[in-house]
Symmetry: C2
Subunit: 326 residues, 2 copies
């Protein structure tokens, strides 16, 4: 996958690009941008590109590419608590392959219908295979979820399970996929992530901070810590790992997928301790597992408790993001 | 350049993609989409991608690529009479080249400042060089310019001059650029088109139909004719051709660039005869040439008067679009 840190630097270069407008409440750098047109709701906008050979293997089924091109953007809006509305698609293809196009369309269409998203614009060009979706949504002015806002004492939660997509990709890339249920599940989690749109909206007046887990838990939780100017302790024994992942991999490898792997598209959120019972109700109502994995504290940086409950020194890829702030 | 017809077919496939939402007033197929969030203004959205080797030669200066990536979208909003506000960028690069990035940023930044556009979101990925910009604007509900609306008797006008960009590309691709003023001008018109944003806004309560000329006059005027269910007669002797173009090419070649060449990013509009004096005032106020090139009539199809004033049969590439409706 792409070297994220290098590209994050690039995004910093672009964060001051263009006019400085007063109606931009949130620009480059959160899950989505927020603009204010004076109405009761703010407009949330995000863009994400899937490039063949970078974000998905070249032989990924077209329907999975179409599905995921929208799903990753739905996940960004979910992390803001926004309701998705309209999408624009920039599709680049080396040649016109009508079977591929039909599949791509079906995958995108099905997910768009599920979330009542209309495709309102498109540009198709000749080029290397890539699909870039811009998604626009609405969110009430008073109820936006952001990365900033976590406070010492808040519980840290994640939805669903972590590491499945990275494990699926690992099996796929190493030609180790077996014809068994666990592997189908892990592959499905890679190719058909379920963006947590309803959960994001339910969390709007509850979570103190939120982000979607797209680059691995450590990197994404790190964004919350940076923006909120807090630290955290995470207990690796509490990471929600699916039975498929646990069945297929040793615990250390499974935890590594959960911490460093990307493409989960779950939500990571923080919440004041006094409101955790409300969170449990949301979990039950929506049928989405929400697992407490740690606690926000005032000391900068991220500390991990390993499988033995010992404090672990961050050292691997993905950890360097935190090394700077400790 | 890309085979447009093939990709237009693809866009038809995508025109019914996703949910059918009542708040979408205009979806895939106009210069920009229009959505209604209940406010006094509608939101106009468009997306356009520039791909290296397809939409611009690989050795195009980075600043020109950055500039043009926004300019082509500004032109789309201009054709709707919308005021541009916010942009999102999906940039794909094979490797991080900081000098190229600086140039790209400068080109985009300068044009964004000129039009008070904020860059609010970005996604940078590894891949073949391509820049896809989504631009969002606002337009008063009652004053949107569309492709549909031209009526028999309306005059057909174009802004600025036509064919310069295609001529510049021709000289560039055939290694015929000379170190003289005419060639610099034609190249500048290719690399730094001036989107007619102010003109588009001034035309809002005046023009019966409008489009931006991005694929060549015949193709783009053809969209107005199709959407308006009318025909037209265009007098090739009236085509606005720059002195640089006339100096460098014979009249037939110059006219061919104007008719079939792309990348002009001028506006083509239609206007009731009774309001042509108002148009002349706008032209004077904005300092933008507006040239009457023909008349809308009721007979379907497009008829051309050649340099001798004789009715010409459409036969070349680009004409086939009209052959279907004649």
């Amino acid at each position: 996958m792409a070297k994220r840190s290098e590209f994050q630097l690039i995004e910093e270069v672009f964060s001051t690009l263009g006019a400085d407008r007063a109606d931009v409440l949130l620009g480059v750098g959160d899950d989505a941008a927020l603009v204010d047109t004076g109405g009761s709701e703010l407009i949330a906008l995000c863009v994400d590109t899937l490039t063949a050979g970078v974000h998905f293997p070249l032989d990924t089924p077209a329907a999975a590419v179409g599905y995921k091109a929208l799903a990753v953007n739905l996940s960004d809006l979910a992390a803001m608590g926004a309701r998705p509305q309209w999408a624009l698609l920039a599709l680049s293809m080396p040649e016109v392959d009508s079977a591929w196009l039909d599949g791509f369309r079906q995958g995108l269409h099905a997910l768009a219908l599920q979330h009542d998203v209309a495709l309102i614009g498109g540009d198709t060009t000749r080029g290397a295979l890539a699909a870039s979706v811009t998604l626009v949504g609405l969110v009430e002015r008073s109820a936006v979820l952001r990365r900033a806002g976590a406070r010492p004492g808040d519980g840290i939660y994640v939805s669903g399970s972590l590491g499945d997509a990275a494990a699926g990709l690992y099996l796929l890339q190493n030609d180790q996929l077996l014809d068994q249920q666990s592997d189908s599940y892990l592959l499905e989690r890679l190719q058909r992530p379920q963006p947590r749109v309803s959960l994001g909206q339910a969390l709007r007046e509850l979570a103190s901070a939120a982000i979607d887990v797209s680059d691995g838990l450590l990197a994404d939780l790190g964004h919350i810590l940076d923006r909120s100017a807090v630290g955290a302790i995470v207990d690796l024994r509490q990471l929600p790992l699916s039975s498929a992942l646990r069945q297929r991999f040793e615990i250390d490898q499974a935890a590594a997928f959960a911490l460093h792997g990307g493409d989960d598209y779950e939500l990571c959120l923080t919440i004041p301790a006094a409101r955790e019972t409300e969170l449990a109700k949301i979990s039950a109502t929506l049928g989405v597992a929400l697992t407490r994995i740690g606690t926000i504290d005032a000391k900068p940086g991220l500390r991990l408790l390993d499988q033995n409950g010992q404090l672990q020194q961050p050292s691997r890829q993905g950890y360097d993001h935190f090394a700077r702030s400790t």
